[in-house]
């Protein structure tokens, strides 16, 4: 992505109640202050999930704002990096769009998953998702996306992107607990655009 702010300030981080009938929400917090845009998370995810070229559950976009055209003045250009996994939304647009009910949000931890046995690869979810999370796997003819590494969570491990993060700026945990940490650090919470799907992934201002 080139130029133009995409982050919306939401000011002081507030506690978010888990969705309806949901016990809790597991999610990620990416502290954009320290993200260096090295794409290690993208590659760790690829290696963990063994996805084909072109299918990336986690992408990193770099956003450039401002201009620098006069060397005799201090440059005003800014650049920051935003890793984009599945947002595991409170009201997932993909789930609502799926015609066969292949997408579910787990009650116990709020993880949004695609059932590959049910998926017919119609790509409606890809059109519905404002974050571009669902990816079409042309080899298997189904949609796939970030699972928050559920297979690792079952073994008591963190998602692969979190354990590989070079700048150690990616965190995994319960939504409310992570929010408390953000509050403690007095970091400023931001969201990517305003989409109305209640994304659970937390970002703090770069």
């Amino acid at each position: 992505m080139e130029r133009g702010e995409i982050l919306t300030k939401t000011g002081e981080a507030g506690l978010i109640a888990p969705g309806k009938g949901q016990k809790r929400q597991l999610t990620l917090w990416v502290d954009l202050r320290y993200c260096i845009g090295c794409h290690s998370c993208t590659m760790a995810c690829k290696a963990e999930q063994n996805t084909p070229v072109g299918v990336d559950y986690n992408r990193v976009i770099s956003v450039e704002t401002g201009e620098f055209t006069d060397p005799k003045k201090a440059p005003e250009v800014k650049k920051y990096f935003v890793p984009m996994p599945c947002m595991h939304c409170g009201e997932p647009a993909c789930m609502a769009a799926c015609p066969v009910g292949a997408i579910t949000k787990r009650e116990e931890d709020g993880i949004v998953l695609i059932n590959s046995d049910k998926c017919i690869g119609c790509r409606y979810c890809a059109w519905a998702c404002p974050y571009g999370a669902p990816q079409f796997n042309a080899e298997k003819k189904i949609m796939q996306k970030c699972t928050l590494c559920v297979h690792r969570l079952e073994k008591g491990l963190e998602p692969a992107c979190v354990s590989t993060c070079i700048a150690r700026t990616r965190f995994f945990g319960d939504l409310n607990e992570l929010t408390m940490v953000i509050r403690d650090q007095r970091a400023k919470k931001v969201t990517i655009g305003q989409t109305g799907t209640k994304p659970s992934v937390l970002y703090t201002k770069p």
Binding site: I36, S40, E67, P71, K73, R168
Partner: protein, 708 residues
């Protein structure tokens, strides 16, 4: 050398790319981010200044918060900026006068210093050769250096306190100045505003940065390739070291440090052999010929091969004709700046009658070889890894194969493909066939055979610092942990860095005596042993003259965090992150050229060769690129990322025994900048090279661009 990120409070990075390049990339990136995590991104206690024509990842981070600033200099003008800083610091007496006035260990220790002493008070002749005044010459006892104490000359090791810092003495009608005075006079050759005009930065910047830097609690300046890969790169690097010496921060907590001494092994031998003769690129060799000026330059101070000069010399048959070449781990045809002469040399069967290559794939340099010996990948070999100064405690890592098979009896290792051998094994097999000493039965001493790579590395990890350790034994601690690592908590010794592995008992030299008494072989004139206010010059040290109106842009290059030079182009996962690179142009320049993102442009330098076989050759020495308009690069500079635009390694069709082999066009996507790098106007068939260090000129060549 590297800064102690943990405790520094003000760091200036010259031409480094933390977060993308640097050794080791992950560790340095993490240290940088830890630094801000500890202090907070908006803390007034720390500041990070990034000097780079390009908004690197580190520059992007500091530009985002309040933790520093990005200073985009014009490429190849770093010498002006650093000498400007030195001028301000000296004129405002902002340096650590006490530390740099102490001329010996005893004097330094009397002042309470444990990090050595400097040569700043040593007297240097003001007439050529400008070398240190010795005791004999000054009519004193035999002594390497002489200092002045309150106007009276004496031997350096005779001083228990401070010596005169900014002074000169007359001996035998010759003026001898202190190294400090030499530096001061050099720095005062240009005013700050003159330097700022050359660097093309806002007026007042140098004084402001110098003031902030010198008044910070723990200031450090560090440099890497960006400022040393120039014809004046040696001087640029020295200037940054002097900046640190003036601050007295060498090997101090929060200062500038050499880091640890790596753990090393040292396998034995039957018969000690020494390398002899002169290398074809004449590195580490001074010119001693009869002709006044040699055909090609000699590089007595180049510690490693001067690769582009090697190939061009071999083609010319200077200083001798060669019979065969064995090339390994050296993708010169793709990698070297101004790479066409390298390819021409490889094609010239008269200059190189026999050419062998050890390569993992059909690389750009291997495609011209007579014989290719297939290598194994990095996951299929044994080896040694040390670490870099960033890590301050001792490290010695052990590389072991991840895949493949090891014969339990002979320890003969084979990679996944049956026809490949590790490069070590290839060389050992060659040596065995040739019957060279120190190989085979009892090769490394009695009872220590050397038949394969395993034998070598197993012995390596049992000797010197690894004495009595488990070698490559898969159940031993070395192999299981992956190396030998000192407890990282033992970094400091009070206010100083411990320098694990021992301190070197010698002065911290800012003045390079050997360079001062050596002549540039091409001119017969003495080298300047101090940093200079110069930009790009040719091999005779004549300033490069290129019409700035005709060639208004300067080139700059960088690498992406996720690529290892060009070696990862064959990894399609990594290539999918950014499937193609671009020529990055500043919006101000793009407007003048009428170019927008996605347009095709063509570029030409004064020496870019006609090279129809090159993948992005357009015609008549013009090269084509796809443009991207972005403010991450300063006006007047264009940027092309390295690693892209390969034409070997499976990027283009190739055949073995008439059969087409695996290719993927995605490997060769994008563009290469190297043909545009400027050739030396005197030698013509080689890139511009630093006559002292042998470094190549990589950023700063002038080019012109047109929209196609």
């Amino acid at each position: 050398m590297a800064p102690d990120f943990e405790n520094a409070t003000y760091i200036i990075n010259f031409g480094t790319s933390i977060g993308e390049a640097e050794y080791p990339m992950q560790t340095r990136a993490r240290y940088m981010q830890k630094w801000f995590k500890r202090k907070g991104t908006h803390s007034p206690d720390v500041k990070h200044v990034i000097v780079n024509p390009r908004l690197s990842k580190a520059a992007a981070k500091v530009a985002m918060g309040d933790q520093g600033e990005w200073l985009p200099l014009r490429p190849a003008t770093d010498g002006f900026f650093v000498l400007g800083l030195i001028r301000w610091i000296i004129e405002n007496k902002a340096y650590d006068a006490d530390f740099i006035s102490r001329p010996s260990r005893e004097a330094a220790e009397a002042g309470g210093y444990k990090n050595g002493w400097t040569d700043m008070t040593y007297l240097v002749s003001s007439v050529e050769p400008k070398v240190f005044l010795t005791g004999e010459k000054a009519g004193l006892k035999k002594s390497d250096f002489v200092v002045s104490v309150n106007g009276k000359v004496t031997e350096w090791d005779n001083v228990k306190g401070r010596a005169d810092l900014d002074t000169s003495v007359m001996i035998g009608g010759v003026e001898y100045k202190t190294a400090f005075r030499m530096l001061r006079e050099r720095a005062q050759e240009k005013t700050l505003s003159e330097a700022e005009d050359v660097c093309d930065i806002p007026n007042g910047t140098i004084a402001r940065i110098a003031k902030e830097f010198s008044s910070a609690k723990k200031p450090v300046a560090e440099f890497y390739r960006g400022i040393v890969q120039h014809t004046n790169g040696w001087g640029n690097g020295r200037a940054v070291i002097m900046l640190n010496v003036l601050m007295g921060n060498i090997n101090k907590k929060g200062g500038y440090t050499k880091g640890h001494l790596a753990y090393k092994g040292s396998p034995g031998y039957q018969k000690k052999l020494k390398p002899r003769g002169v290398s074809a690129c004449r590195h580490k060799s001074a010119y001693e010929g009869k002709k006044k000026v040699p055909t090609r330059p000699w590089y007595p101070f180049a510690s490693r091969d001067v690769a582009p000069e090697w190939w061009s010399s071999v083609r010319q048959g200077y200083p001798y004709k060669i019979k065969a070449v064995l090339n390994y781990y050296n993708g010169v045809a793709y990698t070297l700046p101004y790479n066409k002469p390298v390819v021409d040399a490889m094609k010239d069967t008269k200059a190189i009658p026999l050419y062998f290559s050890i390569d993992l794939w059909m690389g750009e340099s291997s495609m011209y070889a007579d014989y290719i010996l297939p290598d194994t990948s990095y996951l299929e070999r044994f080896g040694y890894f040390h670490s870099y100064p960033t890590v301050m405690t001792r490290v010695g890592a052990l590389r072991q194969p991840v895949v493949g098979t090891l014969d339990p009896k002979t320890h003969d290792y084979r990679g996944v493909h049956p026809d490949t051998r590790t490069a070590d094994d290839i060389l050992i097999q060659l040596a065995l066939k040739l019957g060279l000493p120190n190989f085979g039965k009892d090769g490394m001493g009695k009872g220590k055979d050397l038949f394969n790579a395993w034998d070598l590395w197993n012995e390596y990890y049992k000797t010197k610092h690894y004495e009595g350790m488990s070698g490559l034994d898969p159940n031993g601690p070395l192999a299981r942990i992956g190396g030998l690592f000192e407890n990282p908590a033992n970094k400091y010794d009070g206010e100083y860095i411990k320098l694990s592995g021992g301190r070197i008992e010698r002065p911290i030299f800012t003045y390079h005596n050997k360079v001062a008494k050596t002549k540039n072989s091409m001119t017969g004139r003495y080298f300047d042993a101090l940093p200079t206010y110069r930009t790009i010059y040719d091999t005779t040290e004549t300033p490069l003259k290129v019409d700035e109106k005709e060639y208004p842009f300067q080139i700059c290059t960088h690498k992406d965090a996720y690529h290892t030079q060009s070696r990862t182009a064959s990894n399609l996962w990594l290539m999918s992150i950014k499937p193609e690179n671009s020529i990055d142009i500043n919006p101000a320049d793009a407007k003048k050229l009428g170019v927008s993102t996605g347009d095709w442009v063509r570029a030409k330098s004064p020496t870019s060769p006609v090279w129809p076989e090159h993948p992005n050759h357009y015609k008549d020495g013009w090269y084509k690129y796809k443009a991207r308009v972005t403010s991450v690069v300063r006006p007047g500079v264009i940027l092309v990322c390295h690693s892209y635009g390969r034409w070997g390694a499976g990027a283009r069709p190739w055949y073995m025994d008439g059969k087409p082999q695996y290719i993927d066009e995605r490997i060769g996507a994008g563009f290469q900048l190297n043909p545009l790098q400027m050739a030396d106007p005197v030698l013509k068939n080689v890139v511009l090279i630093d006559p002292i260090s042998g470094a190549t000129e990589q950023t700063g060549t002038r080019i012109k661009i047109e929209r196609i």
